[in-house]
């Protein structure tokens, strides 16, 4: 370990003398995050508007009214009248509305009696995102109703008759009874936060790559043979390189988190969650770039390979543009560590805690472990010929 640290400190000293390193690790991500948030800052927050209709066929029921009230409370939503599902469907087809939410007859009664009910969301073909938002709001509303139904059923016991009074009491006390808005309002982070996260994640892979391609650099410079004749194990040489990358990744990302918070007013969220994601992200970045570097025979080639992986992974993972969680892109973004990192960091920025980033963190750590193990094995072959 001492030898690995000696090698790492030497690499870090050399890295510090290379001004391009500071440029890539700090200046570029901070600068680009600032520029992007300036130039694209108002597009989404001011530009996103949706027109919805609520079709209330639930005569005498109060739940459709509650849902309508919820929509009226969202400042990006404009409500239109629609008396039937057919009318809503034609409005959506004509592009008059982005989506309609249909409550069938007897919906409130069915929910309150524990039989459940069905809400239908009709989306306009041209308004995918707006329709997804409507679907998300309706799903959240339905989830709350499930919670109410479950509370009442638990209080009444199997086979009991559920009366209105009990339902009202359950609504008053059950944690899930308060309808939680899941609209675009609170699932969208500010542009400065988004680009702070995106640029930090994107450039992390460039910041750490110097260390992992350092073995090739040592070989080309002739110093690898000198290291190999020294009384140290091959593992110390590889470990030293990885250690230097880890330090650079951790320091640069931490500085970026602090700098973007102060300078760009970015909101990173739960500090513990951020620390865990930064650690996992740096490990994954080192693992992935190290693996890619072992496929190359020269440092120039390694640099090119790493750049390709960093750019493709960054685009795929949504570091430059938000990627919808649904659909093909939403699924394949998790092939890249950047996708997992963006998911995790955005979850924290939405206000989530450590428990909300378990899966992103697990995904990142799995990628780090797998790529790191393969890279270690391949690097040892390079060092011990």
């Amino acid at each position: 370990m001492r030898e690995a640290w000696t090698i790492a400190t030497k690499d870090l000293r050399r890295r510090l003398r290379d001004r391009s390193a500071i440029l890539v690790a700090l200046v570029l991500p901070l600068g680009l995050a600032y520029i992007f948030s300036l130039t694209l800052g108002d597009v989404e927050t001011q530009g996103f508007e949706a027109t919805y209709a609520v079709v209330n066929r639930d005569t005498g029921g109060h739940l459709p009214d509650e849902f309508t009230a919820l929509l009226e409370g969202l400042d990006f939503v404009t409500l239109r009248e629609a008396s039937s599902a057919g009318e809503a469907d034609s409005l959506a087809s004509d592009g008059e509305i982005d989506a309609a939410v249909v409550f069938p007859d007897g919906f409130t009664e069915g929910v309150e009696a524990g039989r459940g009910g069905e809400i239908t969301v009709i989306g306009a073909p041209e308004a995918t995102i707006s329709a997804l938002v409507a679907d998300s709001i309706a799903t959240s509303f339905a989830s709350d109703l499930d919670a109410i139904g479950l509370s009442v059923a638990t209080a009444a016991g199997p086979g009991s008759t559920i009366d209105d009074q009990l339902v009202t009491r359950a609504q008053a006390v059950a944690p899930g009874a308060e309808i939680r808005s899941a609209g675009a309002d609170d699932r969208t982070v500010s542009q400065s936060t988004f680009f702070a996260i995106g640029m930090a994640v994107f450039f992390l892979f460039f910041a750490v790559e110097f260390g992992v391609r350092g073995l090739l650099e040592e070989r080309e410079g002739g110093t690898l043979s000198r290291l190999m004749v020294a009384p140290i194990s091959p593992g110390s040489i590889i470990g030293g390189k990885a250690l230097a990358s880890l330090v650079v990744g951790l320091v640069s990302t931490t500085l970026l988190v602090i700098a973007t918070t102060w300078l760009l007013d970015a909101t990173w969220g739960d500090p513990l969650g951020v620390v865990l994601l930064v650690l996992g992200g740096v490990l994954a970045a080192v693992g992935v770039t190290a693996l890619v570097a072992t496929l190359a025979t020269t440092t120039a080639q390694a640099g090119a390979y790493v750049s390709i992986v960093a750019v493709v992974g960054g685009l795929l993972g949504g570091t430059f543009f938000p990627i919808s969680q649904a659909g093909f892109l939403g699924t394949i973004r998790f092939l890249s560590p950047q996708g997992w990192l963006m998911e995790g960091f955005q979850e924290l920025a939405y206000g989530g805690g450590v428990s909300d980033i378990v899966w992103p963190l697990a995904g990142i750590l799995v990628i780090a472990a797998v790529t790191g193990a393969i890279a270690w094995t391949r690097s040892k072959r390079l060092v011990a010929r």
Partner: protein, 323 residues
């Protein structure tokens, strides 16, 4: 105290035998073996591609071998060996230094890898910098150094751990004559101080000047080894003394031929050519004999057989390509 073998000779610092290394179908080193005693400088002489670097890469534990043994100070050495490598000072063929670090920083880094630190490391760095003549440039970045200075630092890094065995892989390739002389002087000093040296070169003059024993390597095979004199005698070469004379050249040649140790003397090119096993040992007698024959001596030139000739004799080809 130097350990000794059963014959009372100092135990070799390095002993390797039956080394074999192949790269695919190509045999790079085949059945190579030699020993180096304390204070001895052993030269591996051969043209480019002869297997010199492969051999020392195996000796230094840089390269796995297919067959054979390497022991350093009686301890087995291989790529996975760690501790025994502390006995080796390695000077690779290419300049292996960090250009963005100063000479002192380079030395400090490599010194730490040899578990050196504190005042001891500082003292060693100071001594080595003096030895290689870079004390006044120690705190300059090495990318500002001349080629010769870089070469000297390259050697200095190999001395930092005060090795038992110093391995130099063609350290003077591409070096100006002045720096080359400085490097050769340094190696001679180190050998006199008792360091065992393994020196590879394709410069015959360097091998002749530095090495107590020379192994002639060609196409991965050790064709012959021994001292300079042993190698010369191995192929039956003679020293040649040309005496430019005035007078009866036949009488002079007859007189010279009668001197013990002289094998042949013949009139040639306004003088006589005298062939002897060791012309320097017989030189005084030859001069007296020629002078006694009544022939005037104008000038003399000794032409001793060299390793170039030995190499040519053993392999049928020149030691190095035209440069």
């Amino acid at each position: 105290m130097t350990s000794r073998d059963v014959d009372g000779d100092p135990a070799p610092v390095l002993s390797c035998g039956n080394l074999r290394k192949t790269f695919g179908e190509r045999v790079a080193v085949d059945d190579v073996g030699f020993t180096i005693a304390p204070g001895e400088t052993y030269g591996l002489l051969g043209p480019n591609g002869a297997g010199k670097t492969t051999t020392i890469s195996i000796v230094c534990g840089l390269l796995t071998r297919d067959e054979g043994t390497v022991t350093l100070q009686g301890r087995e050495l291989d790529t996975g060996t760690v501790d025994v490598k502390a006995e080796i000072g390695y000077v690779p063929q290419e300049v292996a230094i960090y250009p963005d670090l100063t000479a002192r920083e380079n030395m400090r880094f490599f010194g730490k890898l040899y578990d050196l630190g504190g005042r001891e490391l500082d003292a060693r760095i100071g001594r080595v910098l003096e030895t290689i003549g870079l004390a006044d440039r120690a705190d300059e970045r090495t990318d500002a150094f001349s080629g010769g200075m870089k070469r000297r630092l390259n050697i200095g890094l190999g001395l930092l751990n005060e090795p038992t065995l110093l391995v130099l892989d063609e350290p003077t390739v591409g070096v100006d004559p002045q720096s080359r002389n400085a490097i050769l002087d340094s190696v001679e000093v180190l050998a006199r101080e008792g360091m065992a040296v393994l020196y590879t070169t394709h410069y015959m003059e360097e091998a002749e000047r530095l090495c107590d024993r020379v192994g002639i390597l060609d196409e991965g095979v050790l064709r012959a080894e021994g001292s300079h004199r042993e190698l010369i005698s191995l192929v039956g070469e003679h020293d040649r003394l040309h005496i430019e004379s005035r007078g009866d050249l036949t009488a002079a040649a007859t007189a010279a031929a009668a001197v013990p140790g002289v094998d042949e003397a013949i009139p040639r090119d306004g003088g006589i050519d005298v062939l002897a096993r060791d012309v320097r040992a017989s030189l005084a007698d030859i001069v007296r004999a020629v002078d006694g024959s009544g022939t005037g001596i104008v000038s003399m030139e000794v032409d001793e057989p060299n390793l170039e000739a030995v190499f040519l004799h053993l392999t049928g080809k020149a030691l190095r390509d035209e440069e």
